[in-house]
Amino acid sequence: MGNFGQLMDGFVVALTMHHVMIMVIGVLLGLVVGVLPGLGAPNGVSLLLPLTFTMDPIAAIILLTSMYWGALFGGSTTSILFNIPGEPSSVATTFDGHPMAKQGEAVRALTLAFGSAGFGAMVGVVVITLLSGWVANFALQFGSPEYFAVYFMAFASFIGMAGGSPFKTLVCIMLGLAVGTVGMDTISGEGRLTFGITQLTNGISFLIVVIGLFGIGELLLTIDEGYKFEGVKAKLSLRVILRTLAELPRYWVTLLRSALIGCWMGITPGGPTAASFMSYALGRRFSRRGKYFGKGEPEGIVAPETADHSAGSCALLPMLALGVPGSATAAVMMGGLMIWGLSPGPMLFTTRPDFVWGLIASMYLGNVIAVVLVLATVPIFAWILRAPFTVVGPLIAIICLIGAYTVSNHIFDIWVALAFGLVGYVFKKLDYPLAPFVLAVVLGDKAEDAFRQSMLSSGGSLSVFFEGSLVATMMGIGILLLSLPLLTALFGGLFRRGAEEGQTSRP
């Protein structure tokens, strides 16, 4: 109950005209940053940081977090419209969002994404409000074996759930792991797979991979197969938006499941990107309409978006309570906190309750403002879609290349993005799934570090993964998820045969 009283105090802090204005500005800036792939939330926040030096810490953190919300929402926009994920965590949104937009339902897809994202974020903030004290202690229980178990679960859910040829999935995962290996190895401090190219020593940025695979890959595919974008049909009436919002409660099972996955992955070190993938994979498995996933299924948007945003909100908690940033954006914000004279960590809740609870209260408001503002932008984006491909095509190409450059201001990255564009095109032509590849690039490196740290600390014994009750449970669930398709094939093959065929036969 103490938390509730403090939250009310927080609202008193956050609900001033000055702070609400800052939220609006932050969200708008975030939307711009999120829509441009590559620029992204971490870059946007660090660009804004110098402005906050003269502000008081509460206003400053509200500005930065509002920008973060805006960027998270903006990231889904380009995913759906152009198949370019504006943020890494909106990759999974492209799987169904873009097909829906292609079928002329862009407005519905965008509204679904923003509505479920808003719901996810709200669940995340409620979890933070209720469990802040407990979560900090819980997060301390995570040693390297537990980290590995979390990543293992994410992998397992994806491998176990993915449709299509298991062989192709495996190939994609292996290639993804190889890409994730490039660069400086944390454990040995040596460069790997850099081929003597200095630009590669810092690794291949995940964002560039994604811009190439999805943005440029899709562009090449469109040129090859002809433009089939039915954007013209997109109606921009308010009624469509409202009707879609009213449709949302119908997906309550997916919403709840995804929000839970999101919160779990946000509190544990999984993070928003892994959360959205895991939620998509589980959605595909457990939804009655799972076999339509990937072809423009509304639930295929709801699942990753809800998880992404609940994870994004929950990920701020480890930053505040432990001083460990859960994401790149959180790392920049933490730097900001220190410059403003605050030290994130377990004592922040006691030393500066006004700051912590003001921030949490602003998360409620900021997300509401973000949903309203972003819904207001839907007609603008729908209008862009009416332009012919001769206009939109070059525009996408430019956005992709600028995006690749802005990630870290390297010309070299543009070439990398183009190379991955070719990879994406070839993968799609040969019907290799992109999702496992992307997941391996995101998590492979972290999973490897966690595994090797566990091995170093246990002296090479694999039993560490089954010693504690927490780690053993997670590994158990992971193994179960991994073997689920095998089990269903063994026991329920007869019943599910029809559905399996629906999943495997992709055009």
Partner: protein, 346 residues
Amino acid sequence: MKITSLRNGASLRTGVLTASALAVGLTGATAALAEWKPNRPVELVVSAGPGGGSDIFTRVVQAALTKNKLVETPLIVVNKPGGSGSEAFNYAEDNVGSPYKVYFGTQDAYVLPLGTKVNYAMKDLTPVASMVFDVFILWSNPKASGINTAQEFVAKAKENPGKVRVAGAKAKDADETVVTLMERAAGIDLAYIPYKSGSEAAIQVAGGHIEANTNNPSESLEQWKAGNQKPLCVFTSARLTDKTVVADGMSWADIPTCVEAGIDVKDFVQPRTVWMAADVPPEAVAYYTELMKKAMETPEFKDYTTRNVQITKFMAGDELKTFLAEQTKNYEKIYADNNWLLPASQ
């Protein structure tokens, strides 16, 4: 060899300076030397990504200079973390002579070329200043590991050779270096486990998963207050001076030095350094040296050094050059002992 050549270079440069000052002195142009000012935005290039120690240091300097209106042109922080930070110094090589780019780093500028193949050499950099020193502390989790003092730590490591785990940030970087120094000084064998950052390593110790870690004070401060970590000893030759009580009735000044505690590693500190590219106008170097000195006097910067329990020591000019030469020699020895030197330079 190295020191003498550095010394020669230094005296040569001052020689040129005096000569040119003399030559133009009569015409009254000496004032121009002190009056060089940037007339367009200046890039502050950081050899680390956003959020890290070097990044915060640079942004504090940026905030201190802008807030107190010590510069008129905008200052832009640019992160170049590629290749462990060598990207930033490589950028200096690409921008020879540019007085609009100032580089911020640690010992990385002169240590990186020892162990990795990098695209720059020390001759591509002009040292400007060294502003503060970050100190390193050995921490334990007294509740989980039962280690309360440095002596207990050494005793435990002697009983279980290779079994006591020490966490730190990255491989072959400052943390692993100090761990190897500690092993050699105390005749112990530790298991070093690298994490991505110092705060991640601290959490592993706070959570009781690892016995100890080495860290800058600020990275473990909050965990100390929360009772999850305890400082065992500090790697400096004299105790820290800050006497404000932090936790358990203990202040920073109450932490014994590692030498007192029987681990003979003194003055392992991390300088926060400022550089420019080679061949920049000497008056620009003079301008930025003066500017950094002014930044250190601001309340913002003083807050920063207090919060991070740093040792404030401003060094520039010849003093800095001597210091850098000594440091490079020390590191060469450590790297040779650890077998970390680049095969080519062995």
